[in-house]
């Protein structure tokens, strides 16, 4: 590649310098605002440790931020109250919250997701701020991308994918439980509340997002040079993942919004600020 040394390359542009006339900053600003709003809300909600389930009106709702509830005080808890050994190692400045035990997994999946990586590199690091727009001067020659530490750790994405797929099943189970309401006779019967719909849409959107993952597409046959040599079921799965992958960005945002909305809905109902309408 010695040719590059023959003539000088054009001078670097300053941060934000561009000849673009369109509002190039709108998209990164929108991504920044959207992700920041979610990070702030989810961090706040995860640290509350309360109002994350609803039992009033016979409902059986659990906020997706707290599912699975490994240790906790709600009826959804797998192993009951947090054990003494956990409370001994729990940081004293932090009130116990079941969400903190599990949110690293879906958070890690989104953090290492190929779509979000491209989006937050632009919106949070200005790397670049937008296509054909100048970058910060300090990073010019020191740029390493995902070639070395720390961003090389993004390659862990496939392990978060496997965990995230497990979460989908758990969230569908929560949606199933949301269909069963406690009657006055003390027995559970089939019913549908607004919260049921909210909790059902959540894993559906998450499935559309997670099953369109680039890594899953690779695992489902993309890694093969001859996809036709795979079993028919795998070829079908590859085509399905590819189809969802084309709308990966859309489902990434829809599922992000809805998981926050589902938590807010359960929280507001649990706090008594709104009532869950029973539809059936």
């Amino acid at each position: 590649m010695s040719e590059s040394a023959k003539l000088p390359l054009p001078q670097f542009r300053r941060l934000g310098q561009t000849s673009r006339r369109d509002a190039w900053w709108v998209q990164p600003a929108g991504v920044f605002a959207g992700l920041m709003a979610f990070i702030v809300y989810s961090t706040w909600a995860a640290h509350q440790g309360d109002h994350y389930w609803l039992a009033s009106g016979g409902a059986d709702y659990l906020s997706p931020f707290y599912s699975p509830e490994i240790f906790g005080s709600s009826p959804h808890s797998w192993f009951g109250e947090p054990p003494a050994w956990l409370m001994r190692v729990w940081p004293s400045f932090l009130p116990f919250s079941p969400a903190i035990l599990i949110l690293w997994a879906p958070g890690g999946f989104r953090l290492t997701c190929y779509y979000y990586r491209g989006a937050y590199y632009k919106a949070f690091w200005a790397d670049p701020p937008s296509c054909a727009v100048g970058e910060p001067a300090f990073r010019r020659k020191r740029y390493r991308g995902e070639h070395s530490f720390p961003l090389i750790l993004q390659n862990i994405h496939r392990y978060f994918l496997f965990i995230a797929i497990g979460f989908i099943f758990l969230l569908f189970y929560d949606a199933y439980r949301a269909f069963w309401f406690l009657g006055i006779d003390g027995r559970r019967g089939l019913g549908v509340g607004v919260g049921t719909i909210v909790l059902l849409i959540n894993p559906i959107l998450l499935s559309l997002y997670i099953f369109g993952c680039h890594t899953l597409r690779h695992i489902m046959g993309g890694k093969k040079d001859c996809i036709s040599s795979c079993p028919k079921a795998m070829q079908g799965a590859y085509r399905g993942v590819t189809c969802l992958n084309r709308r990966h960005m859309l489902f990434a945002w829809l599922s992000l919004f809805w998981v926050g909305f589902a938590d807010a809905y359960v929280r507001l109902c649990s706090m008594g600020l709104i009532s869950d309408w029973r539809l059936l």
């Binding site: 023959k6 690779h218 036709s228």
Partner: protein, 254 residues
């Protein structure tokens, strides 16, 4: 359409600046037509590379209002009416003169990529058999016209000048076309990681946005290659499984 003013980058690497030209625009004109008209009316020495005027030769790449585009495929009526149109040369390559850049670096990169090495013929007459589904995937990459707009917009080359370490999206597409080819038996993943520097790509998808052939560069070429690199170097489970299931020689899929 009334007369339109153009700001065109004029000069050579030692001294260059924008110069303004005004010319009449008629219906159906593209930016390259306007540049030719300016050459004919006001600036016969204006240097500009072009050939087919049909979006297939990839010669007339430039930056129009800051966006990497083919001049022959940018219709004047797509641009904001009444506003000055800015035309600059590509910024990821050395400037030669006016709108012309030296893109020869790209050809040097291509020479470093391991060539296509097919498996032994499937039939005695020296021919191969491939399934259409396997060919369709790499066919997308063969639409590339080598306009180098993706290289131009890639910030790794444009803003970080990593020409020595990173081959750019155009050649990652080329590598994907070779690596995913159902007949190819060559191993390139090690080079893709090291010499071709795929890790420098941070998936901004700018290359996909500017591709005039609408090749889904990031999703269909770069990310699948990144995943193959992960398989080979960063995934301990896959590496462990490979110990128990070694590859067979005939083709990469075995």
């Amino acid at each position: 359409m009334p007369a339109t003013t153009f700001r065109i980058w004029r000069g050579d690497p030692t001294s260059a600046q924008f110069k303004e030209y005004t010319t009449d625009i008629s219906e159906g004109m593209v930016v390259l037509d306007a540049v030719h008209q300016i050459q004919a009316e006001n600036a016969p020495d204006l240097a500009c590379r072009w050939n087919c005027k049909a979006g297939k030769c990839g010669s007339c790449s430039a930056e129009i209002n800051g966006r990497p585009r083919l001049m022959c495929m940018t219709r004047m009526d797509e641009l904001p009416p009444g506003e000055t149109v800015t035309i600059e040369p590509m910024r990821a390559f050395p400037h030669v003169r006016d709108l012309v850049t030296d893109v020869s670096w790209n050809f040097g990169v291509k020479e470093r990529i391991k060539r296509f090495r097919p498996r032994k013929p499937d039939a005695p007459d020296g021919t191969w058999r491939m399934q259409q589904t396997d060919v369709d995937r790499v066919q997308e990459f063969r639409k590339c016209i080598e306009c180098f707009l993706c290289q131009d917009v890639c910030h790794v080359l444009r803003d970080h000048h990593k020409h020595e370490e990173f081959v750019g999206p155009r050649y990652l597409v080329h590598l994907a076309a070779l690596e995913m080819h159902p007949l190819d038996t060559e191993e390139r993943v090690r080079e893709i990681r090291r010499a071709h520097g795929i890790g420098y790509c941070n998936i901004t998808k700018c290359c996909t946005k500017v591709c005039p052939e609408h090749i889904t560069i990031t999703d269909n070429a770069i990310i699948p290659l990144k995943e193959r690199v992960v398989d080979e170097f960063y995934d301990p489970l896959t590496r462990l499984l490979r110990v128990f299931k070694p590859r067979r020689g005939a083709s990469k899929d075995g």
